[in-house]
């Protein structure tokens, strides 16, 4: 059983196609692993055992039919057990967004991103833990308990997709869906030693993603390698008429093998190598850039001059959008209702009692930034500076193909480190926020370990819709190195 969960997604897919393993075996192996380890990790909020086994048997029938009769080859995802972050809707399965205000909520529909994976034959093991409404960088803001980093249970897994990252790292699933609004796929992927892809804004449908910041939210994935991520990306990406912000550009069929990095120009932004960057992180990232150069790429310094403004811009725009998106939680149509049974007291009490402190803080920040008299100075100005940040990337990508930088200033920090100091937590996001503001894709992958044995990740960013470049570069790096193959001893 243990050996099965050590397979990569592609190895498992190969074994399924060859009939060496069944999806039911893979699924039972993951469920056993969850039963064995999740008491300590707490990656999952809901394990959908019966549903998963039903899906696995259906996948096995489909694969058997194909082996017998031929025809169109099933997707590599057919029969593969995955986990889904609890901000994405899977019909009939609880979706809490890590919040009490959605306790008991079972969506009446399935998110397009999840629907596409299911149509390809994937198995959904369950829903993973998240900071409440995806607001956070550690998964400590979940109302249902913190997730523990499988590399060191006293450390955070990162956030907000901490449950998904921990589940992949702890071999409870072969890949997982996450969402990235300010870094929430890349940073937990980094902290948990996995590979995580933030997609371009508009590349993957947001239909069925419970909204946090509508101009920033993206659906992404975490897995053990770029090669394992590719099938999830290919299946999920593409225009969806149900999401009017999804782009119509066709999704390229991406080949990873045989891709050469010869002539690839990599920009290393000087503004990302700041005081406060953990020395081991800087050393590992610079070494990884050197490795990319050894593979044929050319690195040069670039400047993204408005980098230090990304944080204040994000922490005005995202909360403003969140204050609008979270206005729907009123105890009327879904979730519990609290209060004396009077209007409008029930709204005040339901929201006051059932939202956690970070969510309330961000709603209030956003409400303030949008309020009469402050709108222009805060929200309006932030939107204009966002234009400058986006322009920085456009200028850089005129000179280079990819940008390489750290994912986070440090490796996984201790649970409780930031206590009740929101601003110090926000500072963890400095390297990931800019990509969300600009709408560009980014990938995070392991490039080493710090002296405490915690994973270090590097980030590559590319122009809008250039995920192929990110996956090819990460894959080339992973063909030449073995950091991504390390597993925590848990």
């Amino acid at each position: 059983m243990a050996e099965i969960t050590r397979l990569t997604l592609l190895e498992a897919a190969g074994a399924l196609r060859a009939g060496e393993l069944s999806s039911e075996q893979l699924t039972r192996a993951c469920l056993s692993r969850i039963a064995e380890a999740d008491g300590r990790v707490h990656a999952f909020l809901h394990v959908a055992e019966d549903l998963a086994l039903e899906q696995a048997r259906a996948a096995d029938r489909r694969l058997a039919e194909w082996r017998r009769r031929g025809g169109e080859q099933p997707s590599p995802l057919a029969g593969i057990p995955l986990a889904v972050k609890d901000v994405l809707c899977l019909q009939g399965v609880p979706a809490t967004c890590g919040s009490r205000i959605l306790e008991g909520f079972r969506p009446p529909y399935t998110a397009t991103s999840v629907r596409r994976l299911l149509d390809a034959g994937a198995v959904t093991l369950g829903k993973t833990n998240t900071d409440e409404f995806a607001m956070g960088s550690s998964t400590e803001n979940s109302a249902y308990g913190v997730t523990h980093n499988p590399w060191n249970l006293e450390r955070v897994p990162g956030g907000s997709s901490g449950g998904s990252a921990a589940a992949v790292a702890a071999r409870m699933c072969f890949a997982a869906l996450g969402t990235d609004t300010g870094g929430s796929v890349r940073q937990p992927a980094c902290f948990c030693g996995t590979t995580g892809l933030k997609t371009s804004y508009g590349r993957v449908s947001r239909y069925g993603l419970i909204a946090y910041g509508s101009s920033l939210d993206t659906v992404g994935a975490l897995a053990r390698s770029a090669a394992d991520l590719l099938p999830l990306f290919q299946v999920m990406a593409g225009h969806d008429p149900l999401d009017t912000t999804s782009v119509e550009d066709p999704v390229p069929a991406i080949q990873l093998d045989g891709a050469s990095l010869a002539g690839l120009r990599i920009g290393v932004p000087r503004e990302y190598f700041i005081e406060g960057l953990q020395p081991a992180v800087e050393a590992a990232v610079r070494q990884a850039v050197g490795q990319l150069e050894a593979l044929g790429a050319r690195a040069q310094e670039v400047s993204l001059p408005h980098t230090d403004l990304a944080l204040p811009v994000y922490y005005l725009i995202a909360p403003a959008e969140a204050s609008a998106n979270l206005a729907r939680y009123d105890g009327v149509r879904y979730g519990p209702r609290q209060g004396p049974g009077q209007y409008p007291e029930d709204f005040f009490v339901t929201r006051g009692q059932l939202f956690g402190p970070e969510v309330k803080r961000r709603i209030m920040l956003g409400t303030y930034a949008l309020s009469a008299g402050y709108y222009e100075a805060y929200y309006g100005q932030a939107q204009k500076v966002r234009t400058l940040i986006k322009a920085d990337f456009e200028a850089a990508f005129a000179e280079v193909d990819l940008i390489a930088c750290p994912v986070a200033p440090t490796t996984a920090f201790a649970i409780g480190k930031h206590g009740d100091d929101p601003l110090s937590m926000y500072l963890e996001d400095v390297f990931t926020l800019p990509a969300n503001l600009a709408g560009i894709p980014g990938i995070s992958f392991p490039v080493g370990f710090d002296p405490d044995g915690l994973p270090i990740g590097m980030q590559l960013m590319a122009p809008h819709l250039a995920e192929a470049q990110l996956l090819r570069a990460a894959h080339a790096y992973q063909q030449a190195t073995a950091w991504h193959m390390e597993v925590p001893p848990l």
Partner: protein, 98 residues
């Protein structure tokens, strides 16, 4: 500049959030810290810069006005805390408005 408790109460009222006195004080100081940090944006020269509301540019794609299947009443009411008679029951709204 620190947010006054009155401002915090006003924002909480706009956002329909009931806060305890201790929350009011805590959020006043935490929000002030974030807003002070955000104030550095005031120094940035954005004359002539248009705001980015969406990185893709906003558009409103249309489709033909053809009815399509939608969830049933039962599905929609399944999550309601107080469904009644095929509707969402709420406290009386129209009389005694604050």
């Amino acid at each position: 500049m620190p947010l006054s408790i009155e401002t915090v109460r006003h924002i909480a009222r706009l956002a329909r959030l009931q806060l305890t006195p201790s929350e009011e004080r805590r959020y006043a100081s935490q929000l002030s810290a974030v807003l002070d940090y955000a104030a550095r944006l005031q120094q940035v020269d954005t004359s002539g810069i248009s705001p980015t509301a969406s990185v893709l540019g906003l558009s409103a794609p249309l489709r033909p006005d053809e009815p399509r299947p939608s969830p049933s009443r039962e599905q929609i009411l399944a999550n309601a805390p107080h469904p009644e008679g095929g509707m969402f029951r709420v406290p009386r709204v129209l009389e005694g408005e604050p």
